[in-house]
Structure formats: structure tokens, C-alpha cells
Amino acid sequence: MKNQILQAYKQAPWRIQIQWIGLFLLALVLIAAITGLYLNISAQAATSGRKIQVLESDIEDINNEIADLTTQLAKAQSIENMRARAKELGFKMIDPNNAVYLEIPGYDPNADLVLAPPRVNIIAESPNVKSSYKISLWEWFIDQIWQPTKNSTQLEGVVLP
């Protein structure tokens, strides 16, 4: 009787195999999904890394080009070149005895050259990025768990109206 009851409730062997295969396939799908996700994120990270390298290289190229153009401009405007160009255009050095002086109110020939803003005290502003964007999922999770405790601690000693 006992054996009969056991046999009646026992799974058929093929059902057990199907269950194992199902479980295996489920595990396989999960592993494939996680692997796919990992590969996708890795590929994105690698692409970003390469983009960073390319952009750094571009920055260096641009800086070099700026330096080159600055030099070319400085050479074109060198005093020797400017003097030669002025001569070609028919200008000549002024005779001090024939100079005519005009007083121009507010004009200061010795005014300070300003190539950059003067020094000021800069108060560093805190970056306007939400803290949730700067922490990992795990840290956020821990924070959320501790949040109520923190809030209750902060409320201590506060006198409400």
C-alpha cells in the first residue's frame, strides 16, 4: 500500500529529466543574459576608452597647431617685418623736431597691458551634480537603509514650533 502511494505521487523519470533540463536552460539563459550585459557594458567602456584616447590626441594636435599658428603670427608681426612692410608702404621714421603733439584726455601711453583678468579670490563652488550620480548602486542601497536613522538623528534637538 505504502509503495503504491509512493509510486502514485512519484514523478515520472522523464518529468524529472525535463525539470533538470529546464533548470539547466534557465541557468544558461541567465548566464547568457549576464554575459551579454557584461559584454555590452565592456564594449561601451572600451569604445569610450578609445574615444578618450582619440580626443586626447586631438587636443594635443590642436594645441600644437595653436602653438604653430601663434609662432607664425608672431614672426609675421616681428619688428623687422613690420618695419619692412611700413617702408614698402612709404612710411618713414618721424623727425622728432617735426613731431606734432596732441593732448588726448584719458589716453595713457603707459597703461598696463591686460592679457588676462587680474587676480581675484575665487570661492570654489560645489559641483552641481546630484550625489546619487556619484555613488555605486551598493552605496546607494546602504544609504537608503541608513537614511531613516540619519533623519531621526538630525531631528534630535530640533525645537518645532
Binding site: S42, A45, A46, T47, S48, G49, R50, I52, Q53, E56, E60, D61, N63, N64, E65, A67, D68, T70, T71, A74, K75, Q77, S78, I79, E80, M93, I94, P96, N97, A99, Y101, P109, D112, L113, V114, L115, A116, P117, P118, R119, V120
Partner: protein
Amino acid sequence: MKMPFHGRYLSIVIICAILGGAIVVQMVRINYTIYAQQLIAKSEDYQGIEKVIYPSRGNIYDRSGHILATNQVGYELGIDLKFVADPESIAFSVASIIDDMDYVNVYELANTEKRDVENRYFVLSSYVSKEKIDELARLKENYSERRQEQKSSKPSLSGLVWYPMQQRTYPEGTLAANILGFYNYFSRETAQGVYGIEEAYNRLLTGKPQSVFMPNDPYLVEALPDIQPGASLVLTIDREIQSMVERTLSDAIEWSGAEGGTIIVADPKTGEILGMASTPYFNPNEYWKYEETFPGITPYNRAIGTTYEPGSVFKVITMAAALDSGVAEPSTTYNDSSGVYWVANSWPIYNWDGGAWGVQDMTGCMQHSLNVCLAHVAVDLLQEDLFYQYLQAFGFGRSTGIDLASEANYPLRLPTNNQWVEIDLATNSFGQGIAVTPIQMVTAISAVANDGMMMTPHVVRSVIDRGQQYDVTPQVINSPISPETAHTLSQMLTIALQEEASDALIEGYTIAGKTGTGEIPTEFGYTSELTNASFVGWGPSDDPQFLVYVWLEKPTISKWGSVVAAPVFRDVVEQLVVLMRIPPDNIRLGTANE
């Protein structure tokens, strides 16, 4: 009932376990073999490279913003043996395009057996111009196309590589090179500023190089840190004035036959150096030719790097001391009855012409530049203590602190020194037996032109760092004389110049000044005819806006400062008043129509 697949499952599990175990064993074994360290080292090579990133060296501008020193792109050319396929083509291309490159040397490097060398990268040239690199790049591309057409591995420039890097350049060529110094950029690790501004401000200009690990693994790549370029400097130098004084000095040396010379133009109120010419001139773009231009002990910048006996321009200091201490007034007289002054009855002092000039007041003594009179002032009126106290107050025997590298200084010989002898007091009074630099003279005499205040001479006006401009505040070194003494002496020297009808006078402008002729000692004493001819002057006398110092070394046309240096001073000031937009006195003081 026994499961039908149990045995097979067990077999697979055992095989996997054995394989896993074997892998673990092998991993452990590898870590303990003799090759472990080599393998680890090799793996580190493939992980990435440690690269030092050098910030751009800061620019140097003149006071109007014209660039005097900046950077341009140069390329490091090298051979990476890993990729070399055709050493002959590399050697031929490099030797035919790059100057000073030898076919055999390049071929030997390119043909090096890769396994024989640890370093598989050789630098062929530290700096190659962009034009040359463009030529090589075009050739490399042509070869590549030809290989594709011919389906062969040659010709090929694979393995010939170049990396851009910035090199120092001076767009104005030789202009202000003696002030700027130069930057020896060939070896990047040891590169540094040499002389002048480049050396004095080397750390500021260089910025902070940073070592960065650059991984080959793209997952590990991060943005490079934000490396700030070196600070830029705005100088007090005016490009137009600098060019003018350099040109005038060249003409003066050619005309006078002098060995060398210096002209300094300064603003006595602030200590700013507006122009500073010094021979020989030098092109810092070719700094490796330094030895050719400055053989032996030739100073890079005479204005700050050479001491010499200034001669009579030093009488300005002696007279300033006498007036300020109250031992003499402009009306104080001296009777030069014999043309000779005896020091301790042992050493005679003569005037420049050997003559006697009779009764002279202090203005006359300065006007006729009488050695005997000034010796009398120093020895009899000021005496040792007071005279040398004033000399020290004027900064002699100490560096001026000008912000240029390699400033020279000769210690002041004081009565407390063993080498000091009694005659020194007399000869020092007219600028003999004492060694000074031109910048020391400019600094000391600027006190007379600036209400008694000596300003620190400087050539940097502003520093631009991290996008902000820091202006340099003029510094007072000392006030050796009172404003009243300064005004009185200025008036005396203005009158003396006018009475003398000096070659230094400029029509329409009142100038105060003094000539100087310093004898140059030989090993037998002051026996040669060689002199240092100089002139110092400032103007306009009532409101000095410039101070000009001219020094010509060993002129041959004449030995006298009044003949050689005074006309050079006039040439400079005639152009200077135009460049500085200083109107003649009658216009400036509003007396044109009176």
C-alpha cells in the same frame, strides 16, 4: 534503481575537476619558476607606458603684448624596430631629407637585430621641422601605395616613427636675446632656461610636468589630468625701444671702434627696464652656437654681468653724498690752484687734462669733471666713514636684485679690508679703484632722478598664471639721499650740461647728466690709453621719465666719454622721446605761446 546517466555525469565532473586542478597547479607553478619575474616584467610592458607630460612653456611678451618667446611644433624622429621591414629605404629617405643624417648610421640602427637589444626604439633626431616630417609622411604614403600596386613588402618606411613636441622659438630673432636668455630644449628631461629671464623664471615658465600611466587596455583608459601650461610673463621691455637701443649701440660701436658696449634705458620712478642692449648679439633660436658668439669669458649680458671701473659718472654719487650729509653745498668752492691733490703727501691726483682750474663751486667741479675737487670732497669733507656709508646706502658692493640670471657683483673694498689703502678714498670718489656693473650705476643714480628713492631694477611687469594676471609692484630698495638733495643735484647736473654745451644736449628738452671716462688698469697700473667711455643722463629734469646709461668699452676714435658716449646718449634720447611720446618742455609745461 540506478540512474542510467549517473556514471557519465560523474566522469564529466571528474574530468572537469582534473582540468581545473591542472590549470590551478600550472598557475601556481608558473609563479614559482625562474621565468616568473621575466614574465611579470614582460606583462607590465604590455599593460601600458608611464609617460611624463610636459606642460607648454609659458610665453614671454614685451610690455605691449608682442611675443618675444613662444613655442612651435617640432618632431622627435625615431626607429621602432618592431615594425621595421625595409632598413635600406628608411636609411635612404632619412639621409636624403634630414640634414646631418648619415645613410650608414641610420641603416645600422634600422638593421639592428631586434632580439639583440632591450630598447627597440632609437631616437634619430630630437627635433625635426614640420616641413621635413611632411616630406617623410608623403614618402611613406607613396611607398604604401606602391606596395599595394606591386603586392610586395618593399619599399617600406614602416618602423620610421615621429612624435610631435613643442620647441622654444624666439620670433624676434636676436632682439632682446641678452635679456631673454635661451632654453636648451634638445634633451627634454634636462632642458632648462639658461641666462636672462629664461633662467631666472625657469620654474614659473616650465610649469609642473606630470607622470601619467597610459594603459593599453581601453577599459582602463581615463582622461589625462588637466595639466596647466607654464606661466607667461609680460616684460617691462618695450620692443620699439629695445630695437632702437640695439641699433644705436651697433652704430655706436662701429663708429667708435669700441670692443663692446651697453645701453640701458630705465624708468627711474619704478625701476622698470625699458630697453637693455648689450653686445655681442645672439640668436637664441640657434642656442647651440653659444660658444661661437661668446668665446671664453665673454659675458652674456654686459649690463648685469660685467664689472668695470666707471670713471667720472661715479662723481654723481660722491656729490650726492656730500650734499646730503651737509658737508658741501652747490655754492661751496674749491680752489684748484695747482691741478694736483696730494693724498697723505704720497700719492698725487691729477685732473683729466692735468691742468689747474682755479676757484670752482661744486657745479663747476661737476661741469669740468675735476678729479682733484672730488678727491678733496671725499677725503677732506666726507672722510672715510661717511663716504663709504653712502656708497653702501647706494647699494655698491651688493647685487641690485634685478630679476635676470647671472648678475655679477664685485665686493666693495672698505677701510676695514686689508687691501684698502688711503688713496682708494680719493680715487673711488671719481670712479677709479672701484668695480661696478652698469645696472648698479643705473640703480644708484636713479635715486637722484627719483626724489632720493632707489627702486629695484626689474624686467618682469606681470605674470599670467592659470588665467589670472599678477602685476609686479615696484619695490623701493633704499632712500640714500633726501628729495631735496636729489632735486639740487639734478639742477646742478642740468646746469653743468648746458654750460658745458655738451654733445648730449637735446633741443627742446632739459636733461641732467654726467660723462665718464674710466681708465682701464693693466698689470702695470693705469698705463694704457684704453678707457671705459660712459654717459648717464635723465630727463626731463623736472619730471624724469627715463634714465639712459651708455657704456662703450675701449673706444678707439677717442678715449673721452664726452666725445664718444655723449653723442650716443643724444641719439638714443632723440628717438626715445618720440617712442615714449614725451613732448618738448615748452609743450609739456604749457609755455609754448608764452
